[in-house]
């Protein structure tokens, strides 16, 4: 008896999709679209671009489904695709001389509110209760201002819960390098959010 689709692993779903079960792809999309979107959103700062990246990532999964081996991890694969698509977007943006990651994020059509402002509506009530608007903006700003290599490691670890070993495979660097980047990212965030440290300790 086969396991219900929601209980089986990503890799098993991918194998089923290789055999022609489209419902397996649907479940993979449902599982990973939100973490991938958030990863892309924090990298790019533009929700529409982030959604386009996620959509394109799954299209490439479909196109390369035949090459997927059951020994590989699906998350490693799909995050590698998404990361590469984000890098491509950032390069195109740099060529167009659009706003840098430190500047207020631009939407697809031009200048606009910051990422924190863009995402305020969907999470406003929860964040307001937890840290308040000021702290929320500072956190988002601090993460945005991290160097790219540190930010992507931070996002994959903190938001997607990927282990360091898998992050190292996605980024293509040794695992110790990933850990070093993680520590630098945390130290930067600690420095940027120092004044809220007491508030954080109070949360523990």
């Amino acid at each position: 008896m086969t396991a219900p689709l929601p209980e089986i692993s990503d890799e098993a779903l991918m194998i089923r999709y290789q055999r022609g079960e489209r419902v397996a792809l649907t479940l993979l999309v449902r599982r990973h679209q939100t973490p991938l979107f958030n990863f892309a959103l924090r990298q790019l700062g533009a929700p529409q671009q982030a959604e386009d990246v996620v959509q394109e990532a799954f299209v490439r999964v479909v196109q390369k489904a035949g090459e997927f081996k059951h020994e590989a991890r699906f998350t490693t694969w799909v995050y590698t695709i998404t990361r590469n698509l984000c890098i491509d977007q950032l390069r195109k943006r740099a060529l167009r001389r659009h706003a840098s990651l430190d500047a207020p994020r631009s939407s697809d059509e031009g200048e606009g509110p910051t990422l924190g402002e863009q995402t305020e509506d969907s999470r406003a009530s929860v964040e307001r209760e937890a840290t308040g608007n000021e702290l929320r903006d500072r956190i988002a700003k601090a993460v945005e201002t991290l160097p790219d290599d540190q930010r992507e490691v931070f996002l994959m670890r903190e938001m997607s819960n990927l282990p360091f070993k898998e992050i190292a495979e996605i980024v293509g660097v040794p695992e110790n390098t990933v850990k070093s980047r993680m520590r630098y990212a945390l130290e930067r965030l600690q420095q940027a959010l120092g004044e809220y440290e007491e508030h954080a300790r109070a949360l523990r």
Binding site: V29, V54, G66, F68, R136, M159, K179
Partner: protein, 419 residues
């Protein structure tokens, strides 16, 4: 744990990736270290503080993704991708059971290369005859070694028809070789070489040659060119004092019913009961050219001698379908020897010369021609000694050089269709 060690495990401890023992040691060090304790606590606090909320994408993102995926599938259907098939094939091929089966097939296949098989031409002809050469050792103590290569359809009839010699069943190796007819036909050197060496090994020095219609010519050619000089059969062919063994038999597959009788006659022949053997072979000769040839040999080796055998050899040659076969060549050669023994040198020479173009018989025919020339030279010399001194200018030649050294045609081949 010291501070340096703690530094190297800080991130792992922070994210719970240390084993229990190391994690306990790290916590113990941090608890007692004024530097490492605050460091770990500060980073833990930052982790708890720097939590980014999970933002939900647009509600229609899933639909858009799936629509785009279906479009991509239309370009390359998931089930029809060659890469998918390759992936499946490689995943199957890497299983240990498949690897063991492949290894077994390689072992069987490589073993088949060392077995003489039959060519496609032989296999395609259901009525292809079995050609067997039986050559006992010179000492006559070792039993004659026989090798049989027959198409599967005729293999069942072969054992009896050749006098109790064990015929190989149509094994898997033989079938492999049948399919790979190029081995037997295109590489005659290797094939004949293997057959010859095997024959020597099994016959204890006696000659063994198992000829099939297609592979027989190259096999015999190899033997005549390289191994024949040292073989016992060469001594037998050049020496009239040694009773000549049966040289070659061509056995039609239809003779299966007469096989026991033929074997009985062969037993008489081997026992030296040539008269009885001749009568037994005569009884089988109506439908079997081999029996007629053996009858001629029995007559020759018995009381009849060559005088009575020559007409029988000629009768074998006059049978339809015999010329161009091993039976016909043997009748020609042995008939020529009888003619030579009777002093009919011209007729003998004609027969030997007709065999120069047959690779399997070239060296034997040439040896007979050389012996014929030497004998004529000796006769001429004796005639010169007896001749009167008044005729000194006459210097008879034993034979023209062209006759002594008849050019061989090593590349001529059997007429396979006639076999």
């Amino acid at each position: 744990m010291d501070c340096a060690k703690f530094e190297s495990t800080l991130i792992d401890e922070l994210y719970g990736e240390l084993d229990d023992v190391t994690s306990a040691a790290a916590r113990q060090h941090a608890a007692g270290c004024a530097t490492c304790g605050p460091l770990l606590g500060g980073l833990k606090a930052t982790r708890q503080l720097a939590v980014l909320p999970m933002v939900s994408p647009s509600a229609d993102l899933e639909d858009r993704i799936l629509a785009a995926a279906r479009s991509a599938e239309k370009v390359v259907p998931i089930q029809g991708r060659p890469s998918r098939a390759f992936s499946w094939a490689t995943s199957v091929a890497m299983r240990p059971q498949v690897a063991m089966a492949a290894l077994f097939l390689v072992m069987v296949g490589s073993g088949a290369l060392f077995l003489r098989g039959q060519s496609k031409d032989e296999a395609s002809s259901a009525a292809a005859p079995v050609a067997v050469a039986i050559q006992p050792s010179p000492a006559a103590s070792a039993p004659p070694a026989v090798a049989v290569l027959a198409p599967p359809a005729t293999a069942a009839a072969a054992p009896g028809s050749i006098g109790g010699a064990a015929a190989q069943p149509p094994t898997e190796a033989a079938r492999v070789n049948k399919d790979d007819g190029t081995l037997a036909q295109n590489d005659p050197g290797d094939n004949a070489g293997y057959g010859t060496s095997t024959g020597h090994g099994r016959a204890g020095g006696g000659g063994l040659n198992a000829d099939t219609p297609a592979a027989g010519a190259p096999a015999a050619h190899y033997k005549s060119d390289s191994a024949r000089a040292r073989s016992a059969e060469a001594a037998r062919d050049l020496s009239s004092s040694t009773p000549p063994p049966p040289a070659a038999l061509a056995a039609p597959a239809a003779s299966a019913a007469a096989a026991p009788a033929f074997e009985g006659a062969m037993a008489l022949y081997r026992a030296g009961q040539y008269g009885d053997a001749a009568r037994a072979f005569d009884g089988l000769a109506a439908n079997d050219a081999r029996a007629a040839l053996m009858a001629a040999r029995s007559v020759r080796d018995g009381n009849g001698g060559c005088a009575a055998a020559v007409p029988r050899f000629d009768a074998v040659l006059s049978r339809p379908g015999v010329p161009g076969t091993v039976t016909g060549y043997d009748a020609t050669l042995e008939g020529g020897r009888c003619l030579q023994a009777q002093g009919s040198t011209d007729a003998a020479r004609t027969r030997f010369q007709s065999l120069l173009s047959v690779p399997a018989y070239t060296s034997r025919a040439q040896a007979e021609l050389d012996a014929l020339s030497r004998a004529q030279g000796q006769v001429a010399a004796r005639r010169d000694e007896k001749a009167p001194a008044a005729q000194p200018t006459v210097a008879p030649q034993a034979s023209p050089p062209a006759q002594r050294q008849a050019p061989a045609k090593p590349k001529a081949s059997f007429n396979q269709n006639s076999l």
